[in-house]
């Protein structure tokens, strides 16, 4: 279990309420807006978003989001979208301070 001692101090380590998601979408009309819309509607603030070049019909999308809500739940809600092929929740890899 990660213990984050300096929650309010951003420089001390990743905030536990900030999450990084790496998605693979079908490169079709509406896929990106559908994802972004869902993220905000489900209570996550979008901090950063990068859509990479489409390759092999797939659209890679990486998101950094912030919320008190469960990122695992967000992941399942995203996976439910028809154009979402894959969602990876990158755990922030909290650094432990001595």
């Amino acid at each position: 279990m990660n213990t984050v001692s300096a929650v309010s101090n951003v420089t001390a380590g990743p905030r536990p309420d900030v999450h990084h998601l790496q998605l693979q979408l079908r490169a079709v009309e509406g896929a990106v807006v559908r994802v972004l819309g869902l993220v905000e509607r489900r209570g996550f603030r979008l901090l950063a978003c990068e859509a990479e070049e489409v390759r092999d019909g797939g659209q890679p999308l990486s998101l950094r989001v912030r919320s008190e809500r469960s990122p695992e739940l967000l992941k399942r809600q995203l996976e439910r979208l028809h154009d979402v092929l894959q969602v990876e929740l990158k755990h922030p890899g909290v650094r432990h301070h001595a």
Binding site: E29, S70, R76, E79, R80, H82
Partner: protein
């Protein structure tokens, strides 16, 4: 036989996009459509003529989408509605959202301006794809005529599979007239069903065996996934006491000895006490809606939870379960059960609550008591399908009507759409002509889709309308009485039109009653097996009547207010 079946290869004669659309609808088993024409969708309406598809012209696109919703509920196949671009499309939105919230299969087709005009603010252009993004399971813009067969097959598959929902297909005008020689359609085999999660079943069975006070909440998923028989077998085998959500009424027959009634805000007190006191809650195809749980942190405070649902995104959304069983309900239910029947002390306690909080119909007052009328009506026949509007009357239907099957109760649960009742009854009657379909309407709600009386009349759709007129937006008035110190704001409808005359003007027979002695005769007339077609029984009731009991918003479910409190 469809045109496509006749073709052998790609040298088939070309069809227009609209013809391809019609073929795709037929290939997917569609027989009836609800819709309304207009400029951008005229080519599709042109192809409709002589196609063999039966189109019902509603008098407002919202009527079409709500009728398609009900059609989808009772058939468990996608109900289809269509409308033109712009205002036609936006008018469909409420019905699409309604289907989304209640997990109803639907395919909605909207005309769109020609591709070259999209994005230019053309006449009757709206971004209906964008507008509906949050309320569809999926959506498509058909950009090329060659995509039509595949998109449509996909639309139906998505709408009807897993947790069902609405799919929107936006159809630009140029695509609908473009010609294309389709290649034979390859049907994708439906994916093999997921095996039941045996580890989760074992864990659940252990909890069931250890529990001293186990309780079931039957949710809407039981009906949606066609698991009513499996659920009943489970209840008979295990003897567990059962409560139901609004959408699951009828999963167990209302009069079943183990059935404690609906839980939640306007639930039966027996059901709410059982939930608050149980030590194991098994939620079958339900989603912990706030109208069900009351204050979430106080909901079933002493219970461990087994949550069964086909949608993994429902697990831990609001309440973290101790065991989650994700997948189709019926095969899992067949494997579930405790080693021993529930303890007699718990069953006795549930029975005592049930007795203590049984509905009473000895209301004082001179006028017609709507709960009793509804109770009497639903006991007059076994084959009633009741579609209702939203408000006090909707809760009275849920509390007092008897249901033998969840598909006998059509109610707008998630969205709470006033005006659902009449078009929903229409959609259900078209889908199930052999059933006696009653729309139970509120006077406020009725006016929201009153125009559909013209549709009933045109096609002779034999819906029977019970209009409970309290000359009030009753549910809002009740909340103002209880939670806003009686500061009544914009709830008075005492200047309602004469509903009996309104019905007559649409060619629908009507009767008005306002005395308890007239109820029996009125109901006989309403439900009669004759060939007089649709009719409306207008019932005048007390404007100040309330729905009891009630859990005040934000309170725990056992803090119920009753008419005796």
């Amino acid at each position: 036989m469809s045109l496509l079946d006749k073709r052998e290869d790609t040298s088939a004669e070309p069809l227009s996009g609209s013809q391809l659309m019609i073929e795709a609808l037929k290939r997917n088993g569609v027989k009836e459509i609800f819709g309304y024409p207009g400029g951008a969708i005229m080519p599709l309406y042109d192809a409709l003529v002589g196609s063999g598809l039966k189109h019902y012209l509603t008098r407002h696109e919202q009527g079409a989408s709500l009728a398609a919703d009900a059609y989808g509920r009772v058939t468990r196949r996608a109900g289809v509605c269509m409308a033109t671009s712009g205002p036609g499309a936006t008018n469909l939105v409420t019905g699409i959202a309604n289907a989304y919230m209640d997990s109803v299969p639907m395919v909605a087709i909207t005309g769109q301006v020609a591709s070259s005009l999209i994005g230019t603010d053309a006449f009757q252009e709206v971004d209906i794809f964008g507008i509906t993004l949050p309320v569809v399971k999926h959506s498509f813009v058909v950009r090329d005529v060659s995509e039509i067969p595949e998109i449509m097959d996909e639309a139906f598959r998505i709408a009807e599979s897993g947790r069902p929902g609405p799919v929107l297909v936006d159809f630009p005008k140029d695509v609908s007239v473009a010609m294309h020689s389709p290649s034979p359609v390859t049907r994708h085999p439906s994916p093999a069903p997921q095996p039941v999660d045996e580890a989760a079943i074992a864990a659940a069975n252990e909890l069931l065996t250890k529990a001293r006070r186990p309780l079931v909440i039957a949710g809407g998923g039981i009906a949606i996934s066609d698991a009513v028989d499996a659920f009943r077998e489970f209840v008979e085998r295990t003897g567990l006491p059962v409560t139901a959500t609004l959408k699951s009424l009828g999963s167990l027959p209302t009069d079943h000895e183990r059935f404690l009634g609906m839980l939640g805000m306007h639930g039966n007190e027996a059901a709410n006490h059982a939930v608050q006191n149980c030590d194991l809650l098994m939620v079958i195809g339900g989603r912990f809606d706030d109208r069900v749980t009351g204050k979430l942190t106080h909901f079933a405070p002493t219970a461990q939870v087994i949550h069964m649902d086909i949608d993994p995104a429902e697990v831990s959304k609001l309440r973290k379960p101790d065991v989650a069983i994700v997948g189709d309900l019926a095969p899992a239910l067949a494997k579930l059960g405790p080693d021993e029947p529930p303890r007699a002390s718990w069953i006795n306690q549930c029975e005592a609550w049930k007795k203590e909080f049984a509905w009473r119909y000895d209301a004082p007052g001179e006028g017609i008591y709507a709960p009793k009328l509804l109770r009497d009506m639903s006991r007059m026949r076994d084959d009633l399908v009741i579609a209702c509007d939203v408000g006090q009357h909707q809760m009275w239907v849920a509390q007092h009507c008897r249901f033998n099957d969840p598909l006998e109760h059509l109610t707008s649960g998630g969205l709470g759409t006033m005006g659902y009742g009449l078009p929903a009854a229409m959609g259900a009657k078209v889908a199930k002509p052999e059933k006696k379909v009653v729309a139970v309407c509120g006077d406020g709600s009725f006016m929201m889709n009153v125009q559909e009386l013209a549709t009933l009349n045109r096609y002779g759709i034999d819906v029977r309308i019970l209009l409970l007129n309290n000359a009030m937006l009753g549910m809002v008035r009740q909340w103002q009485e209880l939670f806003f110190e009686g500061n009544y704001s914009e709830v008075d409808l005492s200047d309602n039109p004469d509903f009996a005359r309104v019905a007559e003007a649409f060619g629908i027979g009507s009767k008005t009653i306002d005395k308890p002695g007239e109820v029996g005769g009125g109901l006989e007339w309403l439900l009669a097996d004759d060939d007089q077609g649709p009719r409306l029984l207008h019932v005048q009731i007390d404007p100040m009547e309330n729905v009891w009991p009630l859990v005040p918003p934000g309170q725990a479910n056992h803090k119920m207010m009753g008419n005796r409190s």
